[in-house]
Symmetry: D3
Subunit: 294 residues, 6 copies
């Protein structure tokens, strides 16, 4: 998901513009123009840093100077300084909230993702933790990046990059086999094909029909293991199994134990717990601003 | 926050476009074109409906037919049908996720907001619950609407609609009095002025300097009550007090008891718990689609 | 109304793009590429400079060098040099008209505003002169800034930053009291409430219902003074009075004398008299361009 | 300048969006949703109607019903009803100002243009009155249309549709002949070539070099007549002469008398006097809205 | 690549807007407004229809009535009527060129693609003909659709939907094995991995490293067959082989004979031969337009 | 068609954004971030360079360093280095295809145009070769520039810069004379008027009615010469004649011989043969990237 910096800048500045409306009336009223100040971005909780690159690009693209003290993916501690930002005071104050919203959301996502993965690792499980497309509209790119930074798999980036046949497609098409065959016949060779199934039998049929990935929808862990065994025995060991549907941080370890390859969790992005991060401007040393009385 | 429907449509379609990329390859591969189907949008948990209007506008703007079974603000039950949507199957499948993301986020926000307000009501407290600008970039409008639907106060809509002098402004300006006076002198008569304070004394100074609202930043409930008393005695009873900073569903009732007018909580929008909502396409009755084999 | 420079740049370049169409065919045909020239921006009349910041940002964002000789708000004289611009000749010629249109409109607005305020000052009157939203669509931000530079009040920035109940709202709601109470009940605590009235009695009712500002619509100066007196006596001295409706430079002093707080005038922005400003390119010294014959 | 309606709609809705910000808080607070009302758009002064088509398209594109009572170009009287608009009350209130801004600006321009032309006609003069590109950025299309509706000539639509060599180009190129020849050699056969001159001699050189139009910059009327005579005698009777530069409604008749073909006046669009037009909502007949108390 | 109609409309209208500039001056000058006419879209050569859906959507979105006489993918003959379009004459004339440009480009691409496939079929070869990303910037979606309509494979839709490691990536990474392994380790399970190789040995290494598709870059047909054989023997029969690089309609059959799975050809989209298609307005029956003389 | 660099940048970056989707997954997966590499852009065939300026602007606007070895319009040879590009490897790889698509299309157009002109020159013919508006939607600006670079005439830039009355307009208006007179009466003096005719007689009528250019639609060369003669004799020698309609590189010389002034050919832009151009990254010298293993 590499996007050249200048293209990302424009995406980020549009976000800021949405918050600005006709302009920041507070900075305009109480802060003198062209005053240089220093600020630090500070963690208020432990977690994993994410969005450092986005925050840096956004701030630099507004002619602020940025010194990142941590990199995306770094473990950070409460009270740790994440970045130093300096430059025009009005600009820093206007961008503060947008910048923190990005950082705290992305870091929140990365922190949760990493925590899940560490629990998996402790158990020696090898399943991937994957996101879904359950993101606030417009945030897909940033949420996916945060999941990757946390160590997870972004899953589909949007509707054009993989064939994913779900329950609603199947309601129309009729059955798993027909659907997968249709997909193979009508889609580009560049696409993988994934299909959602609700029974162990359909998991096998999906594999036989040529699916690259089989999504086990709301399977109990026991069922998931059965599916894994059946596919392995039938010679479809290379078909990936994804457990999905209502899996939480309480239950995901059981699915990992059931040998699924991927565990996808909507909560990663639709029920984010933001990491508390704040920005603090230091008192400017020179007092010359008081000459600019209005 | 009334936006004429056609303007909202465009905002919503841009959100969908972000998810579409070069197009939905799954609907294209497995679903016949021009097939009419019916779908229901279904709650998977109890809560407060929000986003029904947005979802309706988005779907109708794509030429789908919508019958909303509930209105924004209605209490909804697990398994309750929220909307019926019918029309072109490929279109429904392509918009499904964007539509559900809006509904489940907005309903999640409204549900939490309402729950807090009901706890306040039970205590007979009159404080308002207010949102902040801690929303994912681009989601400000929708998050604010969800808070309003839940019964809360949207607070500032963005940076242009109120003077809100915060800690970082004060670091630069020096003190509360100077800042408020500056703001009064340099801002339009159309704007209210709010200022953040960290001591009871500064709360009084802010009121004396002419602030319309005083934000009590990270005050203990006891301190907040002191500020309330001091302002009342000093004849500033009409100045509004807003408690802010790290207030959670565990602590907010204490602030209400301390007689503050507004309790603002960043978690309302930056740590949303999405309400589980899904869309189910019914099996189409006619079988004529099978004639369109490809 | 502070907007970070890079966001303003994009707004300004979009304006230029509208004038460019498929490109400047004249500069392309007769001016050699990569030729550096110097130009001056020159006042052709006395007035108040406004738009210097916008013009500077626009020109610099096109890689031109700018030396502003005056600042926004400065009094300028016929024939005075406002800015020096140097750089690529084709670029200067392509941006000339957009740059001058901004400068001459904004300076025209600021000049008129300042002239009105000076007449008020001479009389010792303290009323504010305020703009309205009567601006050419798309010019709201720039017109408001010009009014501020001239010393006036921008009034509402757009439809989201204040409750302003006007005659047409009242036609629907029925009366002033109900409307103001509705507004207080249903709007955010962050918003001031203003209501338009047509009688002195309604002015009092508006204040009693809780309006922050009362707009006296098409009042005679005598009536306006009556409203002022009645409100003062009834203890609503802090409620602001705004005179509005058909007030011109012939009549505004009478309203100021009537003790209204704000005088709003649509003409400030919908009947602008542009200040005459031109750009003059000096003869380039070197003759090397003649080597580039085409 | 025909633009298909749907494309114009989008242009117009973008203008409205700029005024809406995060939404109309007044309509939201005091007006019930889904209430149908009728409104009339009313002239408050005599003049020429312009912008009726734009206003109709904008309103209809928001699902309002419009009955235009006059057409663009019609002479209108004070108190005359120009349009009837009916539909959703919140929508009408939100679009009111944008719609009136368009109408009053465009009608103001058309009124002035027509008045000038009528004075010309009375004298039996045949000169065209032309606009310039001195329009607020973004308003070029609408201002040009208003001039056309008033009977004037739009002149260049932007920088791509004609070669117009002005003083600043000539400062660089050196002289009129070289510039025109360069233009002829390097521009498309589809373009006319106009050049600005400051002496009668240069007018002749321009014609000899092949200019289609010669702009007489700041010529006295007597000089303009000399130029006309000299060109006629030299056999360049078909070359058009445009008088330009500081021409006002006081002086333009003298230029017409001097036989120039076109008189261009920046004031037409940069110093517009808006025509006073207002919108009035009638009291809704049914009282059912009072059931929707909030 | 399904995109809901309303989203496609906006994409298409933006294309038209680019051609309109400040408006169609010819339709404005010579065609009366609100005149209804009928037109036919006519093939001037034999081929395969493509773009019928786009043209229909574009025209209908401008309120024109369309009756498509053929569907995308149909074989069409010189002089065959493809569509009937009726409605506002000015609108039809303004959109004519944009509509024909889409149709003739897309039909040209589909025609060439189909012709290649028919030649393959005659030989009994089963290779797919695939496009590349060699499309004029902005045309990717439409060119890919045209290839699909012609029976070909769209290949990657853009840079986000497949891992495709090419020569330039390999110059940096060093060798095929490392690159494929890196890709497997660092990309989502949702992506296929393709890698370009220049020797038969590297083709084997790529398969062993886990590539899903191997691109044989500038292989002679003989070499391509060797690669096929070697992979089959090594048990990598399911790895797809794509022949690429300078393959033309003269040479592609040899690659098909060499048992490659996919033959990709940049010429399909970067050296399109447009199918000649025109639009003809019939003489309007009623003569009432002559009453609108101007 | 001069467009300031910064405006062109934005146009070009939008093109790249279309190809990026949610980001380049290959560069992200296999290329280390912040690795500097050098690349050359290399011709793979002889021709005329075009798009060098666009490619330079696009690359530089992404913070890459560019050294152009040739200029637009230069004759280039197979294997000649056109540009050197250096900088961030991921960025170069992401922009590679968009940059080459521009260069190869524009160079293809310029090459064809120049070849035609050279054949004309050899014959001593003076006709101009002109493009049409038959370009892929969105490519108009770039295709026209390529034609100019090749030595051709861009013809109309879009629908707003010339009156061009074609067959379909005439079907509605009735005849050539009425149409031209209407156009003269209703269009701006800034526009040339061209009209398409199908007979020699109509060519004369068009000239008599005041057309500046007469388009001879599908005339045989002999007919074209007759039209030329008739106009010359009738004293309309200054009216330009444009031959148009199905003219190819096989037939265009006959039209030139027939003394037409302009020969317009749709194939120049709708049936482009891209010039083969590629980009090659050199092996980076330092091996430090291998330290960044992932």
């Amino acid at each position: 998901m590499f996007i050249p910096r200048r293209i990302r800048e424009e995406k980020l500045r549009r976000m800021l513009a949405d918050d600005l409306g006709q302009g920041d009336v507070t900075a305009d009223a109480v802060i003198p123009p062209n005053l240089n100040v220093n600020a630090i971005v500070l963690a208020k909780a432990d977690g994993i840093a994410a969005g450092i690159e986005e925050a840096t690009i956004l701030a630099e693209s507004l002619a602020l100077k940025v010194k990142a003290e941590v990199a995306d993916g770094d473990r950070i501690k409460n009270k740790q300084v994440l970045m130093e930002v300096s430059g025009d005071a009005q600009t820093i104050l206007s961008v503060e909230r947008t910048l923190l919203n990005l950082l705290s959301r992305m870091s929140g996502i990365a922190t949760t993702t990493r925590a899940l993965l560490e629990r998996l690792e402790k158990r020696g499980a090898k399943a991937k933790i994957a996101a879904t497309r359950k993101s606030p509209p417009g945030m897909l790119y940033f949420d996916k990046r945060a999941v990757i930074i946390g160590g997870g798999d972004p899953h589909r980036l949007h509707l054009d990059d993989m064939i994913l046949i779900k329950d609603n497609h199947l309601s129309i098409v009729g059955n798993v086999e027909v659907a997968v065959k249709k997909a193979k016949a009508r889609s580009s060779f560049t696409k993988k094909i994934e299909v959602e199934v609700t029974t162990v039998e359909d998991a096998l049929k999906a594999a036989q029909a040529g699916a690259d990935v089989v999504m086990l929808d709301n399977f109990a862990p026991k069922q998931a293991r059965d599916a894994h065994e059946m596919l392995r025995k039938a010679g479809f060991g290379s078909v990936l199994l994804e457990a999905s549907g209502g899996i939480t941080d309480k239950t995901f370890l059981e699915y990992a134990a059931a040998q699924v390859d991927i565990i996808s969790m909507g909560e990663l992005t639709n029920s984010v717990k933001a990491l508390d991060i704040s920005l603090e401007i230091s008192k400017p040393k020179t007092e010359k601003r008081f000459n600019r009385e209005s």
